[in-house]
Amino acid sequence: MSSGHLSQDEFFDKLGHLFNHRKSSDHGAIYLTQKRLTYDPSEQSTTAKLFPDLLPDKPLPIIIKATNGKSKRDRSDKEKLSTVVQPHELEAFYVRYADVCKAGMTLLKPRDKSKKKAKAKKKKATS
């Protein structure tokens, strides 16, 4: 991740493009990863070093990454995005994140009412 992190606006923008690009093909994947962004542990005291992660003195930012899953063979096609979310921005970030994902994940099954009805009927019959 030497390319540096994007701002959240840029990240969402490019994530949208990533999803759009996927829409036009019939296969492939998008990977989204989130993880705590840790700092260099060398500046911590010994006791903090033993269990540095259990008791952070202050909330830490997290990093969100997105790729289109290309590696090695198609390295030139690989797209990598990342952004850092500060603790106080989490709520707002996830609202937008969910919106972008919902808009992008178009090939999932829509809510199927008929199936649900059949299930409920079956349940009634058994009880």
Binding site: R22, S25, D26, H27, G28, A29, I30, Y31, L32, T33, Q34, K35, R36, T38, P52, D53, L54, P56, K58, P59, L60, P61, I62, G69, V85, P87, L90, E91, F93, Y94, V95, Y97, A98, D99, C101, K102, G104, M105, T106, L107, L108, K109, P110, R111, K115, K116, K119, A120, K123
Partner: protein, 150 residues
């Protein structure tokens, strides 16, 4: 590599894993699209074999897999869905809660979720969550829990 039946179970275990290993655990969401194979026609009477003509181009299907993975202990927790109805809740509520746990925000509010088709299941199945007290203890956590009979 257990797959959980409900997103709530997955979330409970993932939160427990994150509490035990907040710095190394990552959550990956994979949205993948696979082409649907056209059904092979059983009739061999047609002489032209090269045209496998499917009855119609079927739209490829997507699926969503949520994976919580801790590379240190090797614990992997997974949940898979194909329902669009779950996306918003999973991405916002579930990942948001895990994000807060990652950030180290302590007072995480309890949120309960239900799968789109699990609304009719009795509440008794929501067994109390087994909290992984240590990093290693989380390893078998997924397999221990058996769901009640349907």
């Amino acid at each position: 590599m257990p797959y959980f039946k409900t997103s709530q179970e997955w979330l409970d275990h993932s939160v427990a894993l994150l509490e035990a290993r907040p710095s190394s655990t990552r959550v990956t969401t994979r949205y993948s699209i696979k082409p649907v194979k056209p059904r092979k026609q059983t009739t061999t009477s047609s002489g032209d074999e090269s045209s496998t003509a499917p009855s119609g181009p079927r739209a490829p299907r997507g699926s969503l897999v949520l994976k919580t993975y801790d590379p240190v202990s090797g614990v992997t927790l997974k949940y898979r869905t194909t329902k669009a109805a779950e996306v918003t809740r999973l991405m916002s509520a579930a990942l948001g809660r895990l994000g807060k746990a990652m950030a180290g925000i302590q007072d995480v509010p309890e949120e309960t979720m239900q799968d789109a088709d699990a609304v009719e299941t009795p509440q008794g199945e929501q067994t109390p969550q087994q909290v992984a007290t240590g990093g290693g203890a989380g390893g078998g956590g997924g397999k221990k829990k058996k769901k009640g009979k349907k």
